[in-house]
């Protein structure tokens, strides 16, 4: 870790006025500073800014500085969000990590985190050892020749499934962006990860009201039962009426460079009965365009199976 200047602005305006790297829970930033992956000269502790609050009067509004554990425990949170949060990290980390920070967390790619090796995301143009190296954990969707790193957030997968938006504040004012548009696939510029502009801050997350998302879940498949990132995950919400799927939301994590919404799977589910046959046919569409690497070919079948499992779990009573 390199020496840095730490200040704690007391208002959003003050935070936006002073250049620096924002520190909330610190669970990503401090980690990466210890590894010399990030070496900010100025760090702005934003924890005292008024960006708290969970409001469920119309959909869900979550202040960016709310902690993961508080949002997970809030009675107005949709099951898919709550489960995605509870399956993330550890209780200690969830107590510290903020919602805004969770959405801004960096990839867990081992090459990104090791400054002794090249990484296009860290040092544009330096190369990507993951293309031929240890890439079992890496993405099969949304990849490019320059980067195959997965997006690490579980919460973002659930939020993308629910059409969530983020409110961004900057010195020029504020704007809201669909979370699905907020994240950028790597293409030729893997260093550009989000739509966030210099000096902008996420102030809140807005989830539109979706009553039938009470029937939703998040399935996370990983190498141990807790405290590990997803090999593959699926966020699913289903609206089932009279033995028909009226509407569906499906997104995947652990397999793509950004939280991966699956409209073709949703389309295949709409209007069909909630049966195993339907689920398998829909899930088969999930891996269209998948590009496996040397060590992660299993992720395509695993994604299909994870989606089937999630769909089975939210329809257990219908099928019984």
């Amino acid at each position: 870790m390199r020496p840095f200047e730490l200040t704690a602005p007391e208002t959003v305006d003050a935070a936006l006025a002073s250049p620096g790297t924002f520190l909330a829970g610190g669970t990503t930033l401090v980690d990466l500073m210890k590894l010399d992956v990030l070496t900010p000269e100025r760090v702005l502790d934003i924890n005292t800014l008024p960006l708290q609050g969970i409001d469920t009067t119309d959909g869900l509004r979550i202040g960016a500085l709310e902690r993961m554990s508080d949002v997970a425990a809030h009675p107005g949170t949709y099951p898919v969000i709550s489960r995605a949060l509870l399956l993330s990290a550890s209780q200690q980390l969830r107590n510290m990590a903020s919602i805004g920070g969770n959405l801004m967390q960096r990839t867990r790619c081992g090459y990104f985190r090791d400054v002794s090796v090249p990484c296009n995301r860290r040092e544009p143009g330096s190369g990507c050892p993951a293309l031929t190296g240890a890439n079992r954990m890496h993405a099969v969707l949304g990849t490019s020749e320059s980067c195959v790193a997965t997006h690490a957030s579980d919460l973002a997968v659930a939020l993308v499934a629910l059409d969530a938006r983020v409110r961004l504040v900057g010195s020029d004012g504020e704007r809201t962006v669909a979370l699905a548009d907020f994240y950028r696939m790597p293409a030729d510029t893997p260093e550009v990860e989000t739509d966030l502009r210099q000096g902008e801050l996420i102030s809140e997350v807005l989830v539109p009201r979706l009553d039938w998302a009470s029937r939703s879940t998040y399935v996370k498949v990983r190498d141990r039962q807790s405290y590990e990132f997803a090999l593959c995950s699926a966020a699913v919400a289903l609206d089932v009426q009279d033995s028909r799927i009226v509407d569906a939301r499906v997104a995947a994590g652990g397999v793509a460079t950004v939280p991966w919404r699956l409209p073709s799977v949703e389309q295949a589910l709409r209007g069909a009965p909630p049966t195993q046959e339907t689920f398998e046919a829909a899930a088969a569409l999930a891996t269209e365009g998948a590009r496996p690497l040397s060590g992660n070919g299993f992720k395509a079948p695993l994604l299909r199976r994870t989606i089937i499992r999630a769909l089975r779990e939210v329809t257990e009573e219908d099928r019984a």
């Binding site: 081992g110 240890a134 141990r224 039962q225 695993l302 199976r305 994870t306």
Partner: protein
């Protein structure tokens, strides 16, 4: 049953480990590691390092600290850093920066500019198999290949060809790191020509001897202290790089030096468990009688060829009765971090292969795997006539099968919702060994006693064991016995390794205690003493005369004006070795649940039933075995170092080197059958440090097969091993 004496100190943070010592004037060393896997360091530019704030010294192969290679009978030679410019693996210590603070040392170390003449590394065991070499003789002196054939049988191939039922398969196991909670570290202090080193290790007198040799100092000038050790598991048997460097730099600089590896450095700059490939062929009669066994093993080894994971010698050599057997061991030198002893070295990966193969044979025969094992249980190792001193393996399986509900097991497992449930079992064995050890037993005038030996308690509970055996031997309550360990100034206790410490130190206590009691009785009956001229005996901490008078030993010592008396007892393996074979035994049971769709393997129940002789202290013994069994889950499902082609360790931290979390571990049931093995040693205990891990990975793989019908022949077992599309 006694709670561990060191638990309150450890859970309240009062136990002082090696690096908790902070003598006045102390400075900090940071180890620099190589960033290539094979080649030569041609230059190290340390100009910027010397100019960095707080830097006191920079040591490299070009401006080195003089260190000599130490040897000891158990560990062999120990590599010492910075003595030449060869680089044999990535992450090899090549420099040492000492500064006023840890942060200054670390920052300065990052400024070292190293130039290499690189050579192409070989890091893959699979790629190296073709160039495998015969292994040196095993620990017991056996050659790399051992052949036992019944008379008239020409070769193992003939025996296999003549077997009505044959199974053949190849198994692989991943390299692992001990990953003990306490990283390797040391604090070295020189005072008036004497070195004191505070450092966690598995034997304080061995550490003192190795440092004395390395520094070319007399043994009397080196004092090693390690009252608490934060886990070792074989990885702290050899003296560590930080201990050598801190000691030599402290001598050079005239200041106390602290050096500790970071967690990431521990993965390469210490020792690891080798990767293995094992090919097994079993031939049996239709009734399950084993008639031929072939077990060929390959172990990765560093370029120094310092340590081989002996998988066939440590399992198939002894476990089953068979008239025909060939075992072999080869090694594949690679540009990988050093290999060394790690909990059940040989037995842990060896049992995965052998006990999986036995299960495959049971499937082939359509026979219950417990029945197959019972049918081939050995009275003595094949080709040897020394019978097992005390073997109750069938009883372990009997109790285990009953407790675990083995009779409910069905071929093809059972289904619970979307979970496929299977049961598996395996045999566990670990040799009963002991090392030479000396212990001093002291009786004090305040009616307390002390039991002292250098050794180490690397978290095993040895401290409490000393107190219990001491109390037993002195016929007093354990609360009155103070155990002392982890100080090379004490009588030589040897090594806490090989599951030997209880048998070794315990036997020495049983020699020392009668001697000190004899001395007490002599003193008590001496002229002018309370029992002058009387016939005296000892019981219950008291000296008794035939006339009914009695005094506590403290009262006697006070009456003769002695503050204490002491005796040192020694023990070592002896003629018992020529009379019997010695081993501990166990039966491992596991239940797994595999998700029908996403294929995660969850261990849902575990039971181990062990025949380890007399159990001295049931609570820590149970914990030891439980810890071993949990490590077996880790080996089966989580753990494995992933070394890339260029020698880089892809998962050298706790974020990516997976070990189980609480959620991965179910309730673990541990049972004992207790038959004291006094043919092996007077204590009757055979050690429980390692056998807990043995067989667990096979039991899990066998349960996975029962649940899914898929036989996985590699560990760790991953989700992709169980995906069929």
């Amino acid at each position: 049953m006694t709670a561990r004496l060191d638990s309150p100190l450890k859970v309240t943070g009062r136990a002082r480990y090696g690096s908790d010592h902070n003598p006045p004037g102390m400075v900090f060393g940071y180890v620099v590691l190589s960033t290539v896997a094979h080649g030569e360091v041609t230059a190290m530019d340390v100009t910027a390092v010397r100019d960095a704030p707080g830097v006191l010294a920079v040591y490299t192969p070009f401006e080195s600290l003089e260190l000599h290679t130490p040897h000891n009978p158990i560990m062999g030679a120990t590599w010492v850093p910075l003595q030449d410019t060869d680089v044999a693996y990535r992450g090899q210590p090549i420099g040492f920066v000492v500064a006023e603070t840890f942060e200054q040392a670390r920052d300065a170390a990052s400024l070292v500019e190293v130039s290499y003449r690189e050579r192409t590394p070989l890091t893959s065991l699979e790629d190296g198999l073709a160039a495998a070499e015969d292994a040196p003789p095993s620990m017991d002196g056996s050659p790399h290949t051992v052949t036992v054939l019944a008379s008239g049988v020409e070769s193992i191939e003939d025996a296999l060809a003549a077997s009505p039922v044959v199974v053949e398969a190849t198994y692989t196991t991943a390299p692992q790191n001990h990953a003990a909670m306490e990283p390797h570290s040391a604090v070295a202090v020189w005072e008036s020509g004497t070195l004191t080193v505070y450092s966690g290790n598995q034997g304080s007198d061995l550490q003192a001897a190795s440092l004395a040799q390395a520094l070319a100092e007399p043994l009397s000038a080196v004092h090693a202290v390690n009252p608490f050790v934060g886990g070792a598991f074989g990885g702290k048997g050899a003296t560590s790089v930080p201990a050598f460097l801190a000691a030599a730099a402290a001598r050079d600089l005239g200041r106390p030096v602290k050096a500790a590896l970071t967690r990431e450095q521990v993965f390469t700059a210490t020792g690891t468990r080798a990767a293995t490939v094992q090919r097994l062929a079993l031939g049996a009669e239709k009734d399950g009688t084993l008639v031929a066994l072939r077990h060929d093993s390959w172990s990765s080894t560093p370029m120094s060829r310092a340590f081989i994971e002996q998988t066939s010698h440590s399992t198939s050599r002894e476990w089953y009765t068979t008239p025909n057997m060939v075992i072999s061991q080869k090694m594949v030198p690679l540009n990988i971090p050093p290999t060394t002893f790690m909990r059940a070295p040989g037995e842990a990966p060896g049992s995965f292969a052998l006990e999986s193969a036995i299960d495959e044979l049971a499937v082939e025969l359509g026979m219950d795997p417990i029945e197959l094992r019972r049918r081939n249980s050995s009275l003595a190792p094949p080709g040897k006539d020394l019978q097992w001193s005390s073997k109750h393996l069938d009883e372990c399986f009997g109790i285990g099968a009953e407790r675990f509900g083995w009779s409910q097991r069905s071929e093809g497992g059972r289904v619970d919702g979307d979970w496929l449930v299977g049961l598996g079992t395996a045999t566990a064995m670990f040799p009963a060994l002991r090392f030479p050890a000396s212990v001093r037993v002291t009786l004090n005038a305040d009616d307390t006693a002390e039991v002292a030996t250098s050794g180490a308690d690397p978290g095993t509970g040895l401290l409490s064991v000393l107190s219990l055996i001491g109390a037993d031997s002195l016929d007093i309550a354990p609360e009155r016995v103070t155990p002392r360990l982890g100080d090379s100034a004490l009588p030589s206790g040897g090594m806490s390794g090989g599951s030997t410490a209880t048998a070794s130190a315990g036997s020495a206590i049983m020699v020392a205690a009668p001697e000190v009691i004899d001395e007490l009785l002599t003193l008590a009956a001496a002229p002018g003493a309370p029992f002058e001229g009387a016939e005296v005996s000892y019981a219950d901490g008291r000296v008794l005369a035939t006339d009914g008078r009695s005094l506590t030993f403290g009262e006697v010592l006070r009456a003769v004006d002695r503050s204490s008396i002491a005796a040192v007892g020694s023990s070592a393996p002896g003629e018992e070795m020529s009379k019997h074979s010695f081993s501990s035994f166990g039966a491992q049971f596991c239940e797994v649940r595999v998700h029908r769709w996403t294929r995660e393997v969850r261990v849902s129940r575990m039971l181990g039933v062990f025949d380890a002789g007399r159990i001295i202290n049931e609570q820590p013994a149970r914990s030891q075995l439980m810890g071993g069994m949990i490590w077996g889950v880790s080996a089966a499902l989580h753990e494995g170092m992933e070394i890339e082609a260029d020698g880089r360790l892809a998962n050298g931290d706790f974020a990516s080197y997976l070990i189980p979390v609480n959620a991965d571990i179910p309730d673990v049931d541990v049972q004992f059958v207790q038959y004291p093995d006094t043919l092996h040693n007077p204590v009757g205990a055979r050690g429980v440090g390692e056998i807990g891990i043995v067989g667990v990975a096979a039991a899990i793989a066998n349960a996975v097969f029962n649940a899914t019908g898929t036989r996985v022949r590699n560990i760790p077992i991953a989700i992709e091993d169980l995906l069929d599309e």
